[in-house]
Symmetry: C2
Subunit: 499 residues, 2 copies
């Protein structure tokens, strides 16, 4: 604790950050008065070696023998990580606003999750893994109803469970294709033709039809073959992998600050919507569904307005294609609403909403019973998810409710955004296109020296990720509070000064 | 226990099964002397209601409101399932030779796995789920080396971890495509061209090339878009889902008993091998890899000889395409060797071996370092598997080693096969094409009234699955012993007599 206190003092002593000065000049005791969710959390980051430090480097070389480590960020000591703080092997403890690529919601070593993970129910789920489609446990409906269905998006009361974001999206696409063809056939009672039955075994139409999913430029929906065909974020994700001939529409490229470019941005969104509708009407491989992220995340934190998404809902309705909202990264509270599409005030809900990441499990929600394929075993696989992870999600939901973490994220996000706005005025060259206002802590900005910015972040005690080619993306946990925001703001300024 | 004893007596009293009569006439005490791995296991199945019983039906109706139940087999009480026995909500306890579609290796509520699942290490893994490619835990190399790499197939010392069989196969395919194009470019140093970088963002060649994976008729490799394009088992799996234009070769259709059709079968295998080589040389979308199951499982339990697989290895080597062995269902001991391809005595190992199911986690093994893509983030996703499930696999491996379960499965399988051979002589119309000799308990046969056979099985106390259109497939756990085989043989005869 002595070193933590020193570190805190050191950070404070070098701070010339004006915005959060109020908080920063308070004593550690007063800071603690902010009622931290994790009472044992460090009060500040602790950086004791260059990062990666010597132990990290040695262990990485060992791991490299059997496991590709070229994307490795840091070898983590999870036993010493707590709340918003991630610890490495060398004793460095960083404020983590990347959170396992936006997938940790309620903090490292959350005490309630520890209880859930230690429960007899969890042990049973871990050691008796069911084939959920064939042999679900007798309490599976209860687990669903008290867990992931309790937070189901409005209007969507059913779920297909999956393993991760990619297969959540791909099973959603499959549901869309089956639904599309069922409508063409004239309903669920219509039988497959002999030609369909034969051609599908050869991967040929009409049994395996050349239908498509429309996605957007810069979108990210996963990396397996179907999801990767809708991913358009970076060439390195797609290179050398066969892809389906599916259409992509432009995603709005908005100008910031939004309030100064309202008309221009509205026109840009209209242009994109028109192109969506044109592609639906004209693309040579008929479009069964449109898939969109509420905020394009991996692709660079690209936002659009509620009006744009309302327009998408209208276009898909009127052209009778499904509207799939990919909430893998935006879901579970990070935008200050439980689901990011709650911001849109849609007249009718999306047809399908996919989830993963902060849910710690995955799948898709739907409401229309006709989206259940017309025969069993059309949408099926051995495990269809993992009840152990579904129990963790239930624990996360309980923790979110107990601590009002969605509200916390909305309020902390506003506070953080205001601080970043002030910084952007002070350092306009380093903090451009600040975005995510009113979107909880789902905040990003562009900076010309992005990779350098991210690399230097660890040195000042924060773990931050990027998105697209020039964005710094903030993805704190839902337990990120104003006193963490103060440390982050201070750190951002320190990094900028080093650039 | 009283009802168990009654049930046992009832089963015994009605038995006219000659083969296992020795065992069946022994007292329960003598039976127990066979040193069961699970001392608390029931000594026989217990059927107390029609199946599904009233509680099962009521609970299924409840689940149906939120989750597709049309593939539901039985709602399971996992707290009461033990060893080889699966319990339902109504108090029925069945001998389980389906084992969650071949995915439970060491028994329900295995005591050692219970310890693993209750360990502090497991709790940490459950509540601090890492993005394994970026922030693996400091002990990840240790977990791999003492777990899934300890049983790595000979010659393959590296692993890419995944979630389930489908993405294990699809990431293997991606590795194959990247490797293929890397060779075409002239090695790992060659940079992507501007045209490649541009076209891949539009899902077009050359960036997204029209390469293919060759699979076999009746194969099953998963249900996502890439894996489904190699799956050729049933139309219901593939219908309405867009597929890649990839080639399929015939899989040998062997005649049984093998010893009576040696020459004919050898010719059939040669015919199939020739067609594989022809397709590799001539198919319009160049073949980057051949994928094959050691025993086609979902597709009907179709076997081929070691010579066939040696031939495949030779053909793939000589044509410079990768040889991927899909051990998702055959792996982890069920065939009496840890990996089914251990039966083949290959001169050089497969390039890639995929696994899932009994491993309770998934991924692919490889040996050639050039199969690591030439740049980071080409083979990557957020979670890249689940350390909690990797810990379970390590516990399974420990249990397999402690109890010599692969040897047990080989011996029990021989015993069971001999019993089935005798039954096949007695009921030739009901037990055709018996196969899996010397393949552990990985045994199947064809029967004209297959679905009726499976439906009646529960009534006599066993849970059995099918494969293909006419096969009964046995997939007992690795803790299946001779006394279980006796019960199974007795039950098979009882079912046959009811048909």
């Amino acid at each position: 604790m002595a070193s933590l206190a020193r570190s805190t003092l050191r950070l404070r002593a070098t701070s010339r950050f004006p915005v959060a000065a109020r908080t920063l000049t308070t004593s550690p005791h007063l800071r603690a008065a902010a009622k931290p969710y994790f009472p044992d959390e460090p009060s500040a980051p602790k950086v004791v070696t260059t990062i990666p430090g010597p132990k990290n480097k040695a262990a990485t070389a060992e791991l490299d023998k059997v496991f590709d480590v070229r994307s490795l960020n840091m070898l983590t000591d999870y036993t010493k990580s707590i709340g918003n703080y991630i610890a490495d092997l060398d004793g460095n403890v960083l404020l983590d606003v990347y959170a396992q690529i936006a997938s940790i919601p309620v903090g490292y070593n959350n005490p309630h999750l520890r209880q859930v993970a230690s429960s007899p129910e969890m042990v049973t789920a871990l050691i008796n893994r069911p084939a959920l489609g064939n042999f679900p446990s007798a309490d599976w409906a209860h687990v669903l109803n008290t867990g992931l269905l309790k937070v189901a998006p409005k209007g969507l009361n059913q779920v297909f469970t999956a393993m991760a974001g990619s297969d959540a999206n791909e099973t959603a696409y499959k549901a869309a294709f089956m639904y599309y063809r069922q409508q063409q056939r004239g309903g669920p009672q219509a039988e497959f033709t002999a030609e369909e039955l034969e051609t599908t075994m050869n991967n040929q139409a009409p049994g395996s039809p050349q239908l498509s999913i429309l996605s957007f430029k810069s979108a990210f929906h996963g990396r397996l073959f179907g999801s990767l065909s809708t991913t358009r974020s970076k060439a390195i994700h797609k290179m050398d992998i066969p892809a389906f001939d599916w259409p992509q529409a432009p995603f709005p490229s908005l100008k910031y600050p939004l309030e100064e470019h309202a008309q221009e941005n509205a026109q840009e969104e209209q242009r994109c919507l028109q192109e969506v509708e044109r592609l639906i009407k004209e693309f040579h491989n008929p479009v069964a569904a449109v898939v969109v992220e509420p905020i394009q995340s991996e692709g660079g934190d690209n936002h659009a307005s509620p009006a744009f998404f309302q327009g998408l809902r209208d276009i898909t309705k009127r052209n009778n294609v499904l509207f799939i909202v990919d909430e893998v990264q935006t879901g579970v509270g990070a935008t200050g609403k439980f689901w990011a599409h709650d911001h849109w005030n849609l007249q009718t809900p999306p047809d399908i909403v996919t989830f993963s990441k902060k849910a710690q499990t995955a799948g898709y929600y739907y409401g229309n019973p006709a989206l259940r394929p017309n025969k069993p075993y059309r949408q099926f696989n051995t495990w269809m998810g993992d009840p152990a992870r579904a129990l963790i999600f239930r624990g996360i939901i309980e923790e979110i409710e107990r601590l009002n973490l969605v509200e916390n994220t909305a309020a902390t996000g506003d506070y953080l955004f205001a601080g970043l706005e002030r910084l952007a005025k002070q350092y306009p060259e380093h903090l451009q296109n600040l975005r995510g206002k009113g979107q909880g802590t789902f905040i990003a900005w562009d900076t010309p020296k992005r990779d350098e910015f991210l690399a230097k972040a660890k040195g000042v005690g924060v773990n931050i990720g990027g998105s697209g080619v020039s964005a710094v993306r903030l993805r704190p946990m839902l337990i990120f509070q104003k006193h963490h925001a103060d440390i982050l703001l201070e750190s951002v300024e320190k990094i900028i000064k080093q650039l």
